[in-house]
């Protein structure tokens, strides 16, 4: 009984939130890693691309809600998501045409493109705040829980409850579907293979007649979709605030680098490594320890390694350790 209670407690406060957060990071890191693999630079505007996509989705969601459209138990935002993706794709393609294309023509070094992407980041940052404001926005509706803590206790008779939010379930299901679709696209379609070829060996891809501009455009569209999906899922799970999305850049980059930049599989693994580290290190283990340890050994403190306020330190430390000891990441990406 004690053991079951411990497991449920950990599932409720560690596994479920970390899996949901990990899925969101993985989707974000996939976008970063695709840009790195194909356009060969670290896109600092990715967090704000997520914010932009989410903002459009939030606005369309509000419009749909005011029209009385609803998906029943599921959040209305799912209906608005395609609009968010389409508008974001249009924005990044336009950005590519007016900004990045110029530097690509010059064959600018990656470090210059990184700085350019910072400029794009500030513009997108301002754009989002100008349109929707810097405040917290809630746009989740529908059923809040798949299973509530009280129901769970009643069902199982345990002392501890397990709550799974609709947004968490939705995050995992959507992430699995999106990742499966992405991998199928990259491995089984002509366009997807040409993207991998271009990422692998640019010169040989050109010799084979692969059109680089087309590869770049398809990449931006995929990135817009991934960023918007990741942003909306994060927003449904927590809330939408532009500054939070900017801050997400760090764990997302950490995920992509831990997994190996340029490796889609690595981005996913990295997302979960970062999410689980962040959650377990900032979790207060006192109650869980109280269940398994004999009473005499029950801890006085919270057994929390790091206050939640410092959660970004976790990504930072992991990032530094990986860059020092295994710069190509877990899945042999390109070294930074």
């Amino acid at each position: 009984m004690e053991l079951l209670n411990t497991l449920v407690l950990l599932a409720n406060f560690v596994f479920v939130p970390a899996i949901a957060y990990g899925s969101q990071l993985a989707l974000g890191a996939l976008g970063v890693t695709l840009i790195y693999g194909i356009l060969r630079f670290s896109n600092f505007a990715h967090g704000d691309t997520m914010a932009f996509g989410t903002m459009v989705t939030v606005l369309v969601t509000w419009l749909l809600q005011s029209l009385g459209v609803s998906l029943g138990p599921l959040p209305t935002a799912l209906l608005a998501l395609p609009f968010g993706i389409a508008v974001t794709a249009a924005l990044v393609l336009w950005t590519d045409r007016v900004v990045y294309k110029f530097y690509r023509k010059q064959k600018a070094k990656p470090v210059i493109l990184v700085i350019v992407s910072m400029g794009v980041m500030f513009v997108m940052n301002g754009l989002v705040r100008f349109i929707i404001g810097p405040d917290d926005q809630r746009f989740a509706d529908g059923e809040r829980f798949i299973i509530g803590a009280r129901d769970f206790k009643k069902m199982t008779g345990l002392d501890e409850g397990l709550a799974i939010k609709t947004s968490q379930g939705l995050t995992v299901v959507t992430a699995v579907l999106v990742v499966a679709a992405l991998f199928w696209f990259l491995n089984h379609t002509r366009t997807g293979k040409s993207m991998r070829a271009y990422s692998d060996n640019e010169d040989l891809a050109l010799l084979s007649g692969i059109n680089p501009e087309r590869v770049v455009a398809v990449t931006w569209i995929l990135v817009a979709a991934l960023a918007t999906v990741a942003g909306v899922l994060y927003g449904l799970d927590k809330s939408f605030k532009p500054f939070t999305y900017f801050q997400l850049l760090l764990p997302i980059f950490a995920s992509a680098i831990v997994g190996g930049l340029g490796s889609p599989l690595g981005a996913i693994a990295g997302g979960f490594v970062i999410a689980f580290s962040e959650v377990t290190i900032t979790y207060a283990w006192k109650k869980a320890a109280g269940y398994i340890l004999p009473e005499s050994l029950a801890p006085d403190g919270l057994l929390q390694l790091l206050a939640v306020d410092y959660k970004f330190a976790v990504s930072f430390v992991i990032l530094v350790v990986v860059l020092l000891f295994k710069p190509t990441g877990l899945f042999k990406g390109k070294s930074v």
Binding site: R190, K193, S194, R196, A197, S199, D200, N201, D203, L204, A205, L206, L207, S208, G209, I210
Partner: protein, 227 residues
Amino acid sequence: MVGGYGRGPDILQGVTIEVDRGEIAVIVGPNGAGKSTAMKAVFGMLNVHSGSVMFDGEDIRTLTPQARVAKGMGFVPQTHNIFTSMSVEENLEMGAFLRKDDFADTMEQVYDLFPILKEKRNQHAGELSGGQRQQVAVGRALMTQPKLLMLDEPTAGVSPIVMDELFDRIIEVARTGISILMVEQNARQALEIADKGYVLVQGANAHTGTGKELLADPQVRKSFLGG
């Protein structure tokens, strides 16, 4: 041809190279003679300032390398000539990227020519040995069914046994009617299979003849083949 890279000085000071259908032409010469450069000039990877590049009776001097591939030229670079993270079969598919028709036949022909590739079709090309990688590289270039296949030092870094095998395969490719233009370090072996040989020195033709003539030429022997 006279030309060089970008706005830099001319590296080629007047080179003439010619290949007829189904023939093997080999460019040899000392280091820095402009062998690879001459071939890249044929393929449009550097600026040819004067002279012309004719292919199938057409002046293609202004075409980009990609457009030349579409016209029927295949090029195998010396290094980085395969997609290492992709399977052998995907490498061949990418070679046929420009083709809109069904290329299953061509792929079968490539597999007939290089049976080992069929065996390893689902393996990552980066996991293969040096000789097998070169076969993938040549196979990739053959997928467009080129009329002219250009090879930049195909035997660089492979063992003598593998080198002989690669030369045998190159002869087989030529027998199917594809012209071959090749730059080689292993001058003696390459000239043995060559219909035409070009010895370049300092960016210009020094000796020209059939492979056998060049092998018999005392001056060529003395300077480039070690007596």
